[in-house]
Amino acid sequence: MTSHGGDDQAKDVGPADAGRSAQPGWLMRTGGPADAGRREGRGRRRGGQRGEQLMVPRAEFQSYYGRPVLKEPVWKTPDVPGYLFLGGLAGASSAMAASAHLAGNRELSRMAKTAALGAISLSAAALVHDLGRPARFLNMLRVFKVTSPMSVGSWLLAAYGPVAGAAAASAVTGRLPRAGAAATAAAGVLGPAIATYTAALLADTAVPAWHDAHREMPYLFAGSAASAAGGLAMLAVRPAHAGQAVRFAVLGAAVELTAKSLLLRRLGPAAEPYQAGLPGKLMETAEVLTAAGLAGAVLAGRNRAAAAVSGVALLTASALTRFGIFEAGLASARDPKYTVGPQRERLRQRS
């Protein structure tokens, strides 16, 4: 055995060894090319307080020339984040349309059905466009796999698209009201699934920021979808008929804000991709707009202009949230510290 100077370290083998600290020190720095395959000091500190800044970076994590461990998703912007937003808008609009239909609010119901059809049509186009082989999009319906949220989503879309279309067609033309009502009900049931399954779509990956958010993301998406659907109705329907939409939007915006803050709190330091850089800006702007839109929705009353402005704020916020979450995932896949750090921490706690 070759001498290394520090003889006690020669026995320090195994996963439990690196980054021994109370706080996830891996957040403090990013391994660049200069760190290739090199450990940076193995000083041990105990009892460090959470969030304490150390003067000397510890052996937080190592990497191969700072290269990512994961492959960055190849999904395109705006196709996929746009779909997350539009799918949510469509699904929640269908749920709202069904309940407005039940409540006898025809104006709101018709508008929401039309919006759902428009949004889901754009969604389908975005999804096909994002494929590497768009001509083979029908291969999505070749099998059904519950282990693949994309497979489940494809079948959901295949069922939802036609009924959303039928509901809208019947509402606009006034023809076949019974079939229209049945389609409205079906779309109302499938809509919430369309709006929330996309959370599993993102979370069922190795991308740290997405996977680690799998508990809160479905609620965040549900809230964001309701907020968008309500917001669009506040913009497009006269206030006299939009009371239900306002309540739906307010409920959704409140859930969106709550789920987002729960998510960031539970992730703790691992929430950094949601807070830094471009995704951080998107998420922050979205939060401000959601809060403003929520306040506006509550206060606007019968003021059409105020309601419309609030609706636009909520719609924009919902879209920015989806783009922010999407970009946060890309950022967390790009930097190996988000992959290696938490895994190291997990191994340390296990041993």
């Binding site: 055995m1 070759t2 001498s3 290394h4 100077g5 020669a10 195994g14 996963p15 690196a18 090319p33 290739a36 395959g37 090199r38 940076e40 000091g41 000083g43 000397v56 190592q62 191969y64 290269r67 461990v69 994961l70 998703p73 999904w75 929640a92 749920a95 309940s99 407005a100 609010n105 994002d130 082989r133 999505m140 099998v143 796999k145 282990t147 693949s148 994309m150 494809s154 809509g191 919430p192 699934a193 709006a195 929330t196 959370a199 599993a200 979370a203 069922d204 990956t205 190795a206 996977h211 799998h214 508990r215 993301m217 549900a222 239900q244 309540r247 739906f248 959704g252 895994q343 190291r344």
Partner: protein
């Protein structure tokens, strides 16, 4: 793709007690599960594996550039790089506080960069512990393969040999397998639109040959065979190395109880996995999928309920 059992005798079958992903995939009777054991302690960085893989599989050129990363110019696994040789230069400088050079961070012990003994350690006479690690990376052909789980078209499949293979005639380039892989192996080829990765040379296996990379490896760093045998051989080898004082030697991906159920292609490493660009504790993402679906169902039900409650609000006379 044929699911008929191969006629060749490839060795003893796996013990019945272990989870058998091949039978689970529907291959009622099948040859033993085959895999790679890559012993990086004898890798000499010749890249014959990279070349043989490209030649046999007709994988397109993947960029002719100098990366500046030691002798590594393919940089990582990808759609057109199915074997990738990593080069890690661990230069250990004498302890001269305040001395220049790209040594460890200030305040850290100068030899902190190296706690593990390696075979390629420098000159014992001068005390130079510098070493050059080389490792040929490849698709892990996981027991619990996330890429296969999330593939919506069924293009990714488990072969009768236990390997995980993309069927190019089915893949529609949805890209879901790419972020699902905890090792960052599979990728989409831009000009082609489909996902590609190592096939464990399915065509060669079907013809009774070993994969091209293993065939070409001049030092037997890449060993191909029935996974059971490889695991035994690897346990022996890592024990021998540790007995010989190579304290850094460890197996990676050989444990059937790890987060991916054990890799079909596993490694003997001389340092932490992340030094080679490998995740230290990979977990198949679909392990948490049941919980995700439960939360999705709850959130969806809440959304539907919210829509109904919002409609009732007016009759109840309540402002929100």
């Amino acid at each position: 793709m044929s699911t008929e059992p191969a006629q060749r005798d490839l060795g003893p079958a796996e013990p019945a007690a272990a989870f058998d992903p091949v039978a689970h995939a529907g291959h009622a009777s099948h040859p033993p599960r085959m895999g790679f054991f890559t012993d990086t302690s004898v890798c000499i960085g010749c890249k014959a594996c990279e070349v043989a893989c490209k030649e046999w599989n007709a994988v397109p050129e993947d960029g002719i550039e100098l990366s500046g990363m030691s002798y590594d110019n393919t940089v990582g696994l990808g759609a057109s790089t199915w074997r990738h040789v990593a080069f890690i230069e661990q230069i250990v400088r004498p302890a001269t506080p305040g001395g220049g050079g790209p040594g460890p961070a200030a305040g850290a012990p100068a030899v902190g960069g190296l706690s593990t003994g390696g075979l390629s350690t420098g000159d014992p006479a001068t005390g130079d512990a510098s070493r050059w690690l080389m490792s040929s990376d490849v698709c892990k052909h996981c027991t619990h393969a996330a890429c296969l789980d999330v593939c919506p078209t069924g293009a990714l499949m488990r072969t009768e040999f236990g390997s995980v293979v993309v069927q190019p005639d089915v893949c529609n380039g949805c890209g879901y397998c790419i972020p699902a892989c905890p090792f960052g192996v599979i990728d989409r080829r831009k000009e082609d639109g489909r996902a590609w990765k190592c096939t464990l040379c399915y065509d060669r296996l079907s013809g009774g040959l070993e994969p091209a990379c293993a065939k070409a490896c001049p030092t037997d760093s890449i060993q191909f065979g029935p996974l059971d045998e490889l695991r035994e051989r690897a346990a022996q080898r890592v024990g021998d190395l540790q007995d010989a004082g190579v304290a850094g030697a460890r197996l990676y991906g050989a444990d059937p109880d790890d987060g991916i159920g054990g890799a079909g292609a596993f490694f003997l490493l001389l340092d932490e996995p992340e030094v080679y660009g490998l995740p230290p504790d990979p977990v198949v993402t679909t392990r948490d999928l049941p919980r995700m679906w439960r939360h999705v169902a709850t959130a969806g039900a809440a959304l539907a309920a919210g829509a109904l409650v919002a409609a009732l609000g007016r009759r109840a006379g309540g402002q929100v």
